[in-house]
């Protein structure tokens, strides 16, 4: 998070009345004002990824970062598995497999017993699964690393997927499903995803109650057998380990992992959505006092991690709406106009498919249009005018100053490098990061805004009561009909259990 931002405006005001005040003898060497203090540079070098990288005999990469300050070990396995491998006729299996892996015991140890044993060792074991990756983690004292690894690998290789535990997880998932339309956030999140990526892509899929109900322990076991396997892995290890010893240990454990003879190929990278968003204004009706709005469009995916324009885009977005209180959207929508408490923008490049540029805010219904008009104005202004020197400096500093914190612990170093390998990002992305940010100038920011922001492609989604949102504010400063092409597509609310459009 880069939230605490700079505000130089008050710097000179404060020192006016105080010049003569500090007079005590002991204070002679002390600067009169903290802004007069001079600081040296912050020394920091990015750790060496190559030195941390090792490979097991089956080709699995293992990043090891030793740190013997405390007798603790962290191990994280990332598997090429996830919703992208779900059978279309049986969605949700990948996700539940990830959840139940840890909770469902193993084939030889009951779920309860497994919990007891993990607790006895004071280990933390977890597992989970997302759209394009699944993972399992262990952290424990180095003194009990081996017995902890025994449990961890028993879980990984022969999970129990206990039916009772599955029932518990399913019933709580069903409870959450029932609340799908309670919170405008979840409505907006769902529809926004669909508007940009379509409903059919696995990353857009929301489970129905019937689909959830259809999943049983056998599905999970079958999915696990097919995809959670030792040849589809990136491993990160950190803490109190000897590199050689842990590599040998992992080598032998992976060798003992039973694999089926009919290994199915894992499609990699995961398939991108084949959807083209239609620009325009979209609306979902919901009786709330405050409309929730996103407007944006698809961006690029990362093909070249050294592309200077990518870094210029980061700085540009920071100035536009990504940089908290000092950013333009926050200043105008929140501070100047008082139209919303939260407003901001984000620009991201996708890893496996295009990313998203979006500005979003909440505002009382009658000023939703006004805030949108301001956002559009700011998007156009950052394209047509160069940003100020101060804005540029502040935005760049916020990236550079907080950069070292990413590498402050052994586990985040190992995790960052393993993550690079998983998504195909070169490690030197980090070595060059600060220089590339440093090279961004005012012209580059403006060019990035011109090249990468596309007002004609904007999709605007508003969730809230249309009879208040549509007409706009009482002073007639803006209404929804004036925005974009003025045409509004009213989207139906979906039934929370079937996701069918509701009348």
């Amino acid at each position: 998070m880069r939230a605490n931002k700079f505000s130089k405006a008050v710097a000179s005001i404060a020192s006016l009345g105080v010049l003569a005040l500090v007079s005590t003898a002991g204070a002679a060497e002390v600067a009169k004002h903290p802004r007069d203090l001079k600081f040296g540079p912050l020394d920091f070098e990015v750790p060496d990824a190559t030195a941390a990288r090792h490979e097991l005999s089956n080709g699995v990469p293992v990043y090891v970062v030793e740190d013997h300050a405390l007798p603790l070990v962290d191990i994280n396995l990332t598997f090429r598995a996830g919703a992208f491998l779900d059978d279309e006729s049986n969605p949700g299996v990948a996700s539940l497999t990830g959840t139940l892996l840890r909770q469902g015991g193993t084939q030889s140890i009951s779920a309860e017993d497994f919990d007891e044993r993990v607790d006895f060792l004071a280990a933390n074991i977890s597992s989970g699964s997302g759209d394009t990756s699944s993972s399992a983690s262990l952290d424990c004292l180095s003194t009990v690393l081996d017995p902890s690894l025994d449990l961890f690998f028993d879980m990984l290789m022969s999970p129990g997927f206990d039916a009772d535990r599955l029932q518990v997880v399913k019933s709580s998932a069903l409870e959450q499903m029932k609340q799908r339309n309670d919170d405008p956030r979840s409505i907006a999140g769902r529809e926004w995803q669909w508007l940009l990526f379509g409903e059919d892509h696995f990353s857009s899929r929301s489970l129905t109650a019937a689909e959830l109900e259809a999943i049983d322990s056998d599905d999970l076991a079958a999915f696990h057998r097919r995809y959670w396997r030792p040849d589809q892995l990136v491993i990160a290890v950190s803490g109190d380990v000897d590199t050689k010893a842990i590599l040998a240990n992992l080598e032998s454990r992976l060798a003992a992992w039973p694999t089926t003879t009919d290994l199915v190929p894992v499609p990699w990278p995961p398939a991108a959505p084949s959807f083209t968003p239609t620009p325009g204004i979209y609306h979902v009706e919901k009786e709330i006092p405050q409309g929730r709005v996103s407007l944006g469009h698809l961006t690029e995916s990362w093909s070249d991690w050294s592309d200077p324009e990518a870094y210029a885009a980061m700085v540009m977005n920071d100035i536009l709406g990504g940089g908290g209180f000092t950013s333009r959207l926050v200043k105008r929508i929140r501070s100047d106009e008082g139209l919303a408490y939260s407003a901001g923008s984000s620009y991201s490049r996708g890893v496996f498919w295009p990313g998203v540029f979006s500005a979003s805010y909440q505002s009382k219904n009658s000023t939703v249009a006004l805030a949108a008009a301001i956002a559009l104005e700011e998007i156009s202004r950052i394209q047509s005018e160069p940003v100020s020197e101060v804005e540029l400096r502040t935005a760049k500093a916020s990236f550079v100053d907080t950069f070292p914190r990413r590498f402050e612990s052994a586990s985040s170093i190992a995790g960052t490098f393993a993550g690079d390998e998983y998504i195909g990002r070169p490690h030197d992305y980090w070595t060059h990061f600060r220089d590339r940010i440093g090279a961004v100038d005012q012209a580059a920011v403006q060019k990035a805004a011109q090249d990468l922001l596309h007002p004609e492609k904007l999709v605007l989604l508003a969730v809230g009561p249309w009879d208040e949102i549509g007409p706009g504010d009482a002073d007639g400063r803006a209404n929804m009909g004036q925005l974009l092409d003025g045409e509004v597509h009213h989207l139906p609310l979906r039934d929370p259990l079937t996701l069918e459009p509701m009348p």
């Binding site: 998070m1 912050l42 004071a122 280990a123 003194t143 956030r185 219904n365």
Partner: protein, 595 residues
Amino acid sequence: MKRRFPSILGTAALVGMLWVPNGLGAAESGSQQAKVPVETFELDNGMKFLVVQRPELTTVSAGWVAHVGSANERPGITGLAHLFEHMLFKGTRTIGTTNIERDLEVIAEQEALQEELRQHYRDQRARVRRGEIDDPFDPAARTPEMIDLETKFAALIEEQRSLMVKDEFDQIYSEAGASGMNAFTTEDLTGYFITVPANKLELWFWMESDRLYEPVFREFYSERDVVHEERRMRTESTPTGKFDEMLGAMFWESHPYSWPVVGWPSDLRVISQQQAQDFFATYYAPNNITGVLVGNFDLAEAKTLAQRYFGRLERGAIEPPDVVTLEMEQVAEKRMLAECDCQPQAGIQYHTVPFHHKDSYPLDVMAGILNGRTGRLYKSLVLDQKIATSAGASQDSRKFAGSFGVNVEAKGEASPEQLEAAWYAELSRLQNELVPVEELQKVKNQIAADAFRGLESPFFLLIQLVYYDGLGHWEYLNEWSELTRQVTAEDIQRVAKAYFAPENRVVGLYQRKAGSVEEEMPEGFDEVPPEMQEMVKGQIRQIRQMESVEDLTGMVTMVEEQLGAMTSPQKEVMGVMLNAAKERLVELTEAGEEQ
């Protein structure tokens, strides 16, 4: 408990406290213990420093602790220690104003008006005693003179605000890339802390010494009202707040722990700035303060800076007085029967021992036996008997005295009496049977591992040093592991018999008031360890009472920043509080827009 992010981080730190100190080093081998190399030095004025060098970092987590808390107050000025914590963010002669001369004049004029008002409140209290009015602070009962004084006072506040640079203290730190500024007050200590980039350590010395050297208690009276609001939000508007306060006052008979840290409302209305000045002179003298640094810095340079900046402070004229009143022995059971808008619950509390007492270690281990998803309370009350949704126990070791508490929340139709009885059954097991070897070992292992995990983050290491030094013995950080390792099953049985007699307990039973509805907890609540759920609920209720969008936004930002560096269980705890804060933000803005 400062004004921006009320108590949240303070509590998070205390959450860490509950887990970290109670264990021992690597029980399996006994070969490694959590020994932290702490360097110490002392300035001529008596200010002590504890420093831990961590050259691999690019930051310094820095803080200081004043050895003062609500236990150092007396009737009439309760809440002052906490109010002070707020005041120290109001700036100095240099920070926070555009015109210090006029600022100080305004403060003096305010003080004079308030002195007159206090005389009127004296009369108002007399009117209450005579039955003429019900509440001395009722705005409707003000005399014309009082209204006139308040009007004049309000004008002075306005003038002062026009001279102020709002939140400048905060701003200067933020501009420099510092993060996580906060403070907390307990019965025993007051701690202040922040994390700064390693190359800006001098800024920390400048800022912190400045607010001790030339503080200006700006907006004292409006901040007093803020604290009063905070009290209303935390204590008076939460379902169990008032009852918890009453239980605390019932529990401590003679000891100053009997009043709440936030203070009694009648005191908060009349505390004077002069009382604050006296308090400052006595308890915020350098000889009552310890500075703490954890991070990447040069030791010699840190010593030079400490001398240059904090060396400016003068040793206090008198040594801060000790707390001399001892808790009276309890001779009969006390019970509170409450009806509240809450899930039925039971809390049972026993007088035990203070921080670092030899029996605090077996009591900590005993709490460990009871806690956790595989602990006795959860297995018996939640899983087997299905009468509770959560249950937890803890030994609360304060500086001057301690207690052991058990809290259980009912499930379905279970009554608080059933919960109470179920606890007594568990207690008698502890009194009559030795804890099996394996179970004892499990707890020692968990305590050891969590202790090490607690040292991973430099920030939490700082907080522990602040906290233990505040309780009077920072060395505890490096000593408890061995002391806890020595705890035997016999020790646990002995303390279970020694401290848990019926006449030594205070029981609070909470019935749901007819017609009240069940409260819902935010997403992620189930992930919170069961023994912490009650505490977390309390925090969530406070968050749900917060009214300031700015405070909430600040809190969300800060927690999000620090979440990445946290480990279990802080991560789960802070995660769910974050969700609560976000929900509250949405509620507030929606409500605000409606007006």
